[in-house]
């Protein structure tokens, strides 16, 4: 959905692929590899001769920054710029072995806040690029409000982050700005600190960068720092997000790009992945996030907005400790899709009994549908009940239903009859009952 972070390696690969189009006056060697362990790096050295010939830099590529401060950038063995292939390979194996603690905020060099712990699984390895601080620059672009904003600075790396307000030039462009307007404004606003002799090149690079950001449908694109030595460019560190809704028209431009889960976030469960895959195949919408698999209250709510108000109401009445999942189905899913979705939830909620021996609660909620056929979607839920009735009874599940919309009378009647027939505990309400009132009923008992 919308903006998704991509790996640094993929960001560089995308820019490298279109380099000559956006940066015809510059060269970029695109010497970078991504590996998961040391032996993979040694294997890559067979094709990429530079890995064996040049001093290297290695760092994790896991969507988090402040890698230097976390001690996760390898650029020296004995002294800066002496990292060999062997050293890089063994360092990667060492860092990939066991969970690593990563801090996300620092006060100076002192970490603040709680670290996250997770495995490091992806690393980028690149040549060590000797350069002076004066050759480092900062550039990024993103959308703020209605405009695209380009951020430029003559200083890159930590410097810019710590002195943002003084050191960064911000240029806002409306979405309808023409290439000429953009070029003109950038040329006129090159940061004053850029050396006079480099101003023209800096502007050229910035114009190409912003054009790439726009045309390649990046939602966020940052190079911090990039090194400019005459016409030679090095991209030392990159952060990028893509607007994945543009994926259908960018498949050629982006190539095979990965949207990894952020470091420290639990990986998606097989059930969440299965729902995600089903969602991608249908014009309807199926969403599932498992919050606490052992918790007591499960929701199967129709509609993006309604699902949120149910979650809000549960949090209001019971707090979030009892809320097992968040999700929604909408946009007129077929009976089969609804059955699959319901079975996924019923399977998850009937794996364990409640630790305190209470009944579990299943909220089958929804607002008054505009066009989804309620009876049809409920048929899918009923079919799932039939599969899971025994398990549901074993664990103890109390079902609360509230729904309106096309064919709702039949839907409510059918689900009540089916539950009664299967011996399931159910209460059924229609549009005369306030949409989230079943949450109150369920939790006040």
């Amino acid at each position: 959905m919308a903006q998704k972070a991509i790996r640094e390696f993929d960001a560089k690969t995308i820019l490298a692929k279109h380099w000559d189009k956006y940066f015809p006056d510059f060269t970029y060697a695109y010497e970078t590899v991504m590996v998961q362990n040391g032996s993979e790096l040694r294997e890559k050295a067979k094709e990429n001769k530079w890995l064996g010939e040049k001093a290297l830099v290695a760092k994790p590529d896991m969507l988090f920054g402040k890698r230097g401060k976390n001690g996760l950038v390898l650029f020296k063995d004995q002294k800066p710029g002496d990292v060999s292939l062997d050293k890089a390979a063994s360092w990667i194996d060492e860092k990939a072995d066991g969970k690593q603690k990563v801090y996300f905020s620092f006060d100076g060099d002192t970490p603040t806040g709680e670290p996250k712990e997770d495995y490091l699984t992806h690393f980028v390895v690149e040549p060590f690029t000797p350069h002076s601080q004066e050759e480092e620059y900062y550039i990024s672009a993103t959308c703020v409000g209605d405009d695209d904003v380009l951020y430029l600075s003559a200083e890159g790396g930590m410097e810019v982050e710590e002195g943002w307000d003084e050191k960064v030039t911000e240029l806002a462009f409306p979405i309808t700005a023409t290439e000429e307007e953009i070029a003109e404004k950038i040329k006129a606003n090159v940061p004053g600190d850029v050396a006079a002799g480099d101003k023209e090149n800096f502007a050229k690079f910035a114009i190409g960068f912003f054009k790439a950001y726009r045309e390649l449908n990046f939602a966020y694109l940052e190079i911090n720092p990039f090194v400019m030595q005459g016409n030679k460019i090095e991209l030392l560190d990159m952060v990028a997000k893509l607007d994945d809704t543009a994926g259908f028209m960018m498949s050629e431009e982006w190539g095979d790009v990965d949207y990894p889960t952020a470091f420290g976030m639990e990986n998606k469960s097989p059930e969440e992945i299965a729902v995600e895959e089903a969602d991608a195949k249908t014009g309807a919408s199926l969403k599932l996030t498992v919050l606490k698999p052992d918790a007591r209250i499960w929701t199967m709510v129709a509609g993006g907005g309604a699902s949120v108000v149910y979650a809000d109401t549960i949090a209001d009445f019971a707090g979030i400790d009892d809320l097992a999942n968040y999700g929604e189905y909408s946009g007129g899913p077929t009976t089969g899709e609804t059955k699959f979705y319901a079975e996924t939830l019923l399977d998850l909620m009937t794996r364990k009994k409640d630790a305190q021996g209470r009944d579990k609660i299943l909220i089958i909620g929804g607002a008054i549908a505009n066009f989804t056929d309620v009876a049809k979607t409920f048929t899918g839920i009923i079919q799932a009940f039939e599969e899971y009735a025994d398990k549901m009874k074993e664990v103890g599940v109390k079902i609360y239903v509230r729904r309106g919309g096309p064919n709702y009378e039949k839907g409510l009647k059918d689900i009540k009859e089916a539950a009664d027939r299967l011996g399931l505990d159910i209460e059924v309400y229609g549009p005369e009952t306030h949409v989230t009132d079943i949450v109150r009923m369920a939790l006040e008992k």
Binding site: A2, I175, A246, A302, G304, A306, A315, A367, V435, V439
Partner: protein, 604 residues
């Protein structure tokens, strides 16, 4: 414009989404609109010209067009576009529509349009002062006037939720599902809504909360407003600003959903794409708090929202701002409806007197009406009352082609059949069945090719070259014996009539230049009577204001031949009656007029 839609608003519906359109028409019928709210449908891949829909128990036809341009040109009064294209094409459909300057409101239903495209589309619309509802929305409604597509769901729910007539609340939500729910809540706790819009769930939508609320502030039917926001974004703050600066003075009730999001990391996406807080002030809690501080009526929770609505409504009622609403009379959409198998758009025999295209027969039949057979043709064939010069021309054509002697193949066939003892109708059809590309068909061909040449600005020389390449002799050129020196007086008569009575004769003028060239090669290659009729018919339709496409359609459907068929039937019947009168015996062709050349069949 204080009100988004009126009872006269008509839309062009992009994509033949039959269920949604039927729901609009059911709504129209229920609230007794004069005209259906959908004027046309754009169906790019359909070859049909219309789609049938129920209007109450009856059916109506809504025209289909392949492009928005065509639909807009045919329905210039339609100023709303309901864009139901997919996320892949919704952008280009909207941009094309914006370029036309016909639409005041464009609703876009697709979810997940690429963000840059959505932004560009929304900005272009803003620059042109066009209201965009969506993307990723179910739409909006002005109860009692106009309803977009599926808003409100089924007609039963619409009446239950009092969406069939204007109440006093202005409703704005992000979510489409909750829009419907809130309509219901408002109908239970207050008197329904006066206008409502679901702005859409994507991050970048066209009209935002403030745009809609400012319009509702100006709408005298709206007495108070209800805003249902979401976690994420800062749009609610614009509303707070408008209240502080006095731009909004009517009471506002508001709630932001997504208060749960504070408990989780940003990794959990609650609700819509637009619903993700990037800063503290974008959280639902912060926005609810800020709105309450600005004097907006904010409930304790979503569950408490109905009570808040009731409270504000009762207060305004007590103050006299809101008065009791008189419930309008409604039509009831029948539960069982049967689709009709046949359609008739030219005549009607259900009333007191049968009509030809709306004209009672008696009003065109007798001499005192001053109407001729040409008038009847114009009514029944073209559903229009043609001016006298045109109906006179039609009649002239029919008279001119009525007969051409017994030797032509059609008349000959009719005579042979009559002599076999067959009836008038049987004999007539054998004659008529001869009419086609070689007999009578030159009228069609002449119209078709000369128009093609003229449309493509071919010089007479180029036209001749083109026809040679096609390997077709030019239809309508050439006569057995007549020439420029010895003209066909039928042709002269038609041309003289046209010159005198037609407003102009561009195609005939062109054809004469072609004739000048052909007759310079051979004397008898003149514009013949078939050619003259075909060409003048095109000139007649042009002068009557038909589009080139419509005229092409007449030619393709064989309308020109129809004039010949009707005219020549008079002659055929004459020949048949002649045979009957003469009581001629069975005809047998003489042996000596046939070349017999029969070989014995080989055995294979």
């Amino acid at each position: 414009m204080a009100q988004l839609f009126t009872r006269d608003t008509q839309a062009i519906f992009w994509n033949n989404n039959k269920t949604a359109i039927q729901r609009m028409l059911d709504y129209d019928y229920t609230i007794k609109r004069e005209k259906p709210s959908v004027a046309a449908i754009v169906a790019p891949t359909s070859n049909n010209k219309f789609e049938k829909f129920f209007y109450g128990a009856d059916e109506i036809m809504i025209p289909l067009y392949k492009t928005t341009e065509e639909a807009a040109a045919a329905q210039p009064q339609a100023d709303v576009l309901l864009n139901f294209a997919s996320f892949r094409t919704a952008y280009s459909v909207t941009m094309d529509a914006l370029a036309m300057d016909q639409f005041k409101t464009i609703m876009i239903t697709a979810e997940g349009i690429p963000e840059r495209l959505a932004r560009k589309m929304n900005q272009t619309a803003r620059d042109k002062n066009v209201t965009v509802i969506g993307p990723a929305t179910v739409g909006g409604i002005v109860p009692g006037a106009f309803k977009i597509a599926n808003v409100g769901g089924t007609i039963e729910n619409i009446v239950n939720s009092k969406l069939h007539r204007a109440g006093s609340c202005g409703l704005v939500t992000r979510s489409g599902g909750l829009f419907n729910e809130l309509s219901n809540i408002i109908s239970i706790n207050a008197d329904g809504i006066a206008e409502g819009v679901a702005i859409g769930g994507d991050r970048f939508v066209g009209s935002v909360f403030i745009d809609n609320l400012l319009r509702m502030e100006e709408n005298p039917n709206v007495k108070y407003m209800l805003l249902l926001g979401e976690v994420g974004g800062i749009e609610e703050y614009k509303v707070i600003e408008a209240i502080k600066s006095g731009k909004i003075t009517k009471p506002v009730i508001a709630w932001c959903i997504g208060t749960i999001a504070k408990h989780y990391d940003s990794g959990v996406q609650f609700g819509h794409a637009g619903a993700s807080a990037n800063a503290d002030r974008e959280t639902a809690e912060a926005k609810n708090k800020a709105m309450a501080e600005a004097g907006i009526y904010v409930p304790e929770s979503f569950n408490d929202l109905p009570n808040k609505i009731k409270e504000v409504y009762e207060k305004l009622k007590a103050e006299g701002t809101i008065t009791e609403i008189e419930e309008p009379e409604l039509n009831t959409v029948p539960k069982v409806r049967r689709s009709k198998n046949f359609i008739c758009t030219i005549s009607d025999d259900r009333g007191d007197e049968a009509t030809y295209a709306g004209h009672p027969i008696s009003s065109v039949a007798t001499p005192d009406t001053g109407k001729s057979i040409g008038d009847v043709v114009s009514l029944l064939w073209f559903k229009k009352e043609y001016p006298k010069w045109a109906t006179d021309f039609i009649e002239t054509v029919m008279k001119t082609v009525a007969d051409h002697g017994p030797a032509v193949s059609g008349a000959h066939n009719a005579k042979v059949t009559a002599r076999a003892g067959k009836s008038v109708v049987e004999s007539l059809v054998t004659g008529l069945l001869t009419i086609g590309p070689r007999f009578g068909g030159a009228i069609d061909g002449a119209a078709q090719y000369f128009k093609y040449a003229d449309d493509n600005d071919m010089s007479p020389k180029e036209f001749l070259g083109y026809m040679k390449k096609q390997g077709v002799p030019i239809p309508g050129i050439g006569h057995r014996i007549k020439s420029l020196k010895n003209p066909d007086l039928r042709v002269t008569g038609l041309m003289d009539y046209a010159k005198e009575h037609f407003p102009s004769t561009p195609l005939l003028d062109y054809a004469r230049t072609v004739e000048a060239l052909t007759t310079s090669k051979k004397e008898n290659l003149i514009l013949n009577v078939d050619g003259t009729i075909g060409i003048l018919m095109v000139d007649m339709w042009r002068a009557l204001g038909y589009s080139e496409e419509e005229i092409d359609e007449f030619i393709e459907s064989g309308t020109l031949n129809a004039f010949f068929i009707v005219g020549r039937s008079i002659g055929f019947i004459g020949h048949i009656l002649d045979e009957k009168r003469l009581a001629m015996p069975m005809y047998r062709h003489p042996f000596d007029d046939i070349l017999y050349d029969v070989e014995k069949a080989e055995k294979l």
